[in-house]
């Protein structure tokens, strides 16, 4: 009783024969082989599995793969413009020590990338509130807020879109 689905992940067409109950997160990780999307709770609270569906952040543990049929998915692997460069948000996380173990980081990056498109110039308080749906057990969030603010500054000065590897 499996179903055929076709999605676009990070600009690449991905097809699969899946059981209806297969989680989108498992499809992304196991079928598409993109393991940057992590599962932290599988009940929609921690946000580690956040990906973007047609540009909007969603919890891939709360969707079935079949529901994503025909949609466009973005994951953390698609953020950096190239092998030797980082997206400004990724670079800001690196520079501001906004990650320790890094397990929650992909979900936070996907949430914040969408947030900065909606709100390119947020206050720290707005960032704090937008971040509240993602759990991080290591950092205490302070440096993440600083990093998002730094990335917002850089993204507004478009000249610095991608930062070359140091």
């Amino acid at each position: 009783m499996s179903r055929r689905i076709a999605v676009e992940i990070n600009g690449r067409a991905v097809e699969g024969e899946v059981e209806p109950r297969l989680l989108l997160a498992d499809f992304i990780r196991d079928n598409a082989g993109l393991t940057g999307t992590h599962l932290g709770c599988e009940h929609g609270v921690c946000g580690a599995c956040t990906v973007q569906l047609d540009g909007h952040p969603v919890r891939s543990c709360l969707m079935f793969a079949v529901q994503a049929h025909g949609h466009r998915i973005a994951t953390v692997e698609g953020m950096a413009p190239g092998d030797s460069s980082l997206h400004p948000l990724q670079q800001a996380f690196h520079e501001c020590h906004a990650l320790q173990c890094g397990f929650c980081t992909p979900g936070i990056l996907m949430t914040m990338e969408a947030f900065l498109r909606e709100e390119p110039d947020p206050t720290s308080e707005r960032i704090r509130s937008a971040l509240a749906g993602n759990l991080c057990r290591c950092t205490g969030y302070q440096n993440i807020i600083t990093a998002v603010r730094l990335a917002a500054d850089r993204l507004q000065n478009k000249g610095e879109a991608a930062v070359e590897a140091s």
């Binding site: 599962l39 890094g102 057990r137």
Partner: protein, 768 residues
């Protein structure tokens, strides 16, 4: 031990004291990390652990038939399938013969003692199918009476978890220092109080997981997903498998999604998954889900303290007496005795006590077994002691800072022998200047300004309070660490360490230590850890030890390597080693760069590579110390606590990387906020966990964790290691419960005696 000065300018090469960008980050921000669930092997199959749905029950049969007949199922393992029905998992620290009666076997055999206890393992070709099939396992559970609360566990009529033991008390310890009765006889004031700390836990964001593969040809086993203490766990696993040669087991650490005490201890699954791989001949993967994680991975912190404190009316401390019960859960795990052992040995804190009597009973109950969580045993006792001191100050009408200052251990009396023991080692505070830190912190955080804020009228019914928590932490247990530093003729350096990564930045820190003593730039250094095939020994990462012991070992090996190179070059160049400089190209005479010899030449006799190794040994612990300051506004109507300001002053001896130390403290603080305000494992009367999801177990989000102000000082370097470092991993957590509870007590004018300060509890306090 003399602290050795750095020979190299640290700024130029990103050495000690600087904050270079982390070596760990690049793959992690790109989604290219390899956590255990990301790692796959050809032919891999999946394990699902079937867990007890009941907190205490007897069973006589497990019917596997229907499960074995299910689609995709390869095997079902119960206690009957294990050699000798499974060997007990040993304790790792604080060995106690009495507690050995309460050790856990990998699978329950006839009795389950907590909801979540492993009963069977189903192996199938997918995790989905393994879970489907597990539903068909038929077990004839017959309920037994449960015991859940620490006081109930010691009652005469209590149901016994191990009837053969005749008691639920798994371990006890009594410490007596000084003349207690005389001290109490001289007291002007005796405070007597009961304090309770709730059960909560480390809860790293990555759940546990393992992948094990057995090679029948070489009869060897590889286990990926090792963490914290790979070499120690290798030895335990080999012993439990009955293998005398532990080198047949290779443990490999992948990326680790946070540890905080819980991950990396030897759990039932750490035997079961490798065993399943041997039995099935297939690589077996297991990844815990969150519901399992909250029921099966170590809980911590549940203690009830009954304390008495004797004082003179001028506020001088005379004696402290504590009798506490530690709820270790259904079994004594690897660290079952560590937590209460640390509590009893470190309750005295930074103060002079002419007499101290500390005693604990650690009891088994029908809850998840316990272990360590960041600042284990200390988060609890800092709350107890610092609350008690504030209660005394309130009764005597003395300022809460003044009463502490009056009783601090004098700067002239270090090293200070507390008189207690940590796992057999004397607790001797290695160095300190507690009053200096107090003065610096009061000034840095503008305590006078905070006091003015406290007196100003708050808005609409809110009540303001200030609280402080003074604490001593400990760092660096397990007496030795290994390092090997390798340099090739292209100028690349590889550091092999017996320390492990739990996400804290150990690669960055050890690279900084290496370059400070070798003299080559940071970007030439790669750090290898957590693979028993390439690192002969190691004690891992726990108890704030990686920088202290791992760092000292890397420092020594780096020094040795530099000396060997410069001595060889000195001979070649006919110059004194002190006149030489090392670069990635080679060695040259300072001021005469043409007089040089290349690394290629220098290393030609040793096939282009030279290596030095060092085993650093240190029998004693380092004791960093600090102070937390909390300024809160409490809403008596809703019970909400708003943190106006929070500040941490911490003397860590020496700071290798200020940014990473700041990250350790703010992250530790967030966990402390969870413990002080939010996190609690609750159970119903039958022992069913009521907090087995993140909707019920409340982890702090960005909305609950305010920014924390920091003051890091280096006024008391540790004399125990040549770097002078003490470890910085746990001080951010240690006194959050203490400082917040003191601030809330101040705000409400009521004495807080239990955590967490949930809105409901705050409202109850207001009504009391």
């Amino acid at each position: 031990m003399k602290i050795t000065a750095d020979i190299i300018d640290p700024v130029a090469i990103n050495g000690i004291g600087t904050s270079p960008l982390r070596k760990e980050d690049w793959p992690l921000v790109r989604g290219e990390g390899t956590f255990v669930a990301d790692f796959k092997r050809p032919g891999m199959v999946h394990a699902f652990v079937v867990r007890s749905p009941l907190a205490h029950a007897r069973f006589t049969s497990i019917d596997r038939t229907a499960v074995l007949a299910s689609q995709g199922v390869l095997d079902v393992i119960t206690a009957a399938e294990l050699p000798d029905r499974g060997h007990k998992i040993p304790t790792r620290q604080f060995a106690d013969e009495g507690s050995n009666r309460f050790l856990q076997r990998p699978l329950a055999d006839g009795v389950v003692r907590y909801s979540g206890e492993p009963v069977a393992v189903v192996i199938a070709d997918s995790r989905y199918r393994a879970e489907d099939a597990a539903e068909l396992l038929d077990i004839d559970y017959e309920r037994l009476e449960v015991v859940l609360e620490p006081d109930d566990a010691v009652a005469e009529s209590a149901p016994l978890l191990q009837p053969d033991a005749g008691t639920n008390i798994a371990g006890r310890l009594l410490v007596e220092i000084g003349a207690l009765d005389e001290a109490f006889a001289q007291a002007d004031l005796v405070i007597k109080e009961t304090f309770r700390i709730q059960r909560h836990a480390a809860v790293p964001l990555e759940t546990r997981g393992l992948l094990a593969e057995y090679d029948t040809e070489t009869e060897s086993l590889t286990v990926w997903g090792a963490a914290k203490i790979p070499h120690v766990n290798r030895a335990i696993l080999a012993r439990m498998l009955g293998w005398s040669d532990e080198s047949r087991v290779r443990m490999v650490e992948l990326h680790v999604g946070g540890g905080f005490g819980a991950r990396g201890e030897f759990y039932p699954e750490d035997f079961l998954i490798p065993f399943a791989a041997i039995r099935t001949g297939r690589p077996v993967a297991w990844v815990e889900d969150r519901e399992e994680n909250l029921r099966a991975t170590n809980h911590s912190r549940e203690q009830v303290h009954r304390v008495e404190m004797a004082l003179k009316k001028d506020g001088t401390f005379l004696a402290l007496k504590d009798s506490f019960i530690n709820n270790t859960g259904a079994y004594v795990r690897t660290h079952g005795m560590t937590v209460p052992g640390l509590s009893v040995s470190m309750l005295p804190g930074p103060y002079k006590w002419p007499a101290y009597r500390g005693e604990f009973r650690s009891v088994v109950t029908n809850k998840t077994p316990g272990g360590t969580y960041r600042s284990p045993g200390r988060f609890e006792i800092n709350f107890v002691r610092e609350r008690l001191i504030d209660i005394a100050a309130h009764r005597l009408g003395i300022d809460t800072v003044d009463i502490r200052r009056r009783n601090l251990i004098d700067r002239a009396s270090f090293p200070h022998d507390v008189g207690t023991l940590y796992d057999g080692h004397p607790v001797i505070y290695d160095s300190g200047d507690y009053e200096l830190l107090l003065d610096k912190a009061l000034a840095a955080f503008d305590y006078e300004g905070l006091k003015r804020w406290r007196r100003e009228p708050a808005t609409a019914g809110m009540r303001r309070g200030l609280g402080i928590g003074f604490f001593v932490e400990k760092a660096g247990p397990a007496e030795r660490e290994y390092a090997r530093v390798e340099l090739n003729d292209r100028g690349d350096v590889v550091v092999y360490t017996g320390s492990a990564s739990v996400g804290q930045g150990v690669e960055t820190i050890l690279a900084q230590v290496c370059v400070s003593h070798l003299g080559l730039p940071y970007d030439r250094v790669r750090v290898v850890h957590g693979d028993t095939a390439v690192i002969p020994e190691g004690m891992g990462a726990f108890g704030s030890r990686a920088t202290m012991l791992g760092g000292a070992a890397v420092m020594r090996a780096s020094e040795q390597l530099r000396k060997r190179l410069l001595d060889a070059a000195a001979e070649e160049l006919e110059a004194a080693p002190a006149d030489l400089m090392l670069t990635a190209a080679g060695v040259s005479v300072i001021g005469a760069p043409t007089r040089s010899v290349s690394l290629t030449n220098l290393l030609s006799a040793s096939a282009g590579v030279i290596t030095e190794e060092h085993r650093f040994v240190c029998d004693l612990l380092g004791f960093p110390y600090g102070i937390h300051f909390a300024a809160v506004e409490v809403d008596p109507a809703s019970g909400a606590i708003h943190i106006h300001r929070y500040a941490v002053a911490y003397d860590i001896g020496r700071c290798v990387n200020p940014v990473l130390v700041g990250g350790q403290i703010s992250g530790g603080f967030a966990q402390g906020i969870g413990g002080a305000l939010l996190e609690e494992f609750s159970f119903d009367a039958s022992g069913q966990p009521l907090s087995a999801s993140f909707m019920d177990y409340l982890m702090p989000t960005s909305e609950e964790v305010p920014d924390v102000e920091l003051l890091i000082t280096e006024d008391a370097p540790s004399p125990l290691n040549p770097l002078g470092v003490k470890g910085a991993g746990e001080g951010g957590t240690a006194a959050v419960g203490a400082a917040i509870a003191n601030a809330v007590s101040d705000a409400l004018g009521t004495e807080v005696t239990r955590l967490p300060l949930s809105p409901q509890r705050v409202v109850e306090l207001v009504g009391a």
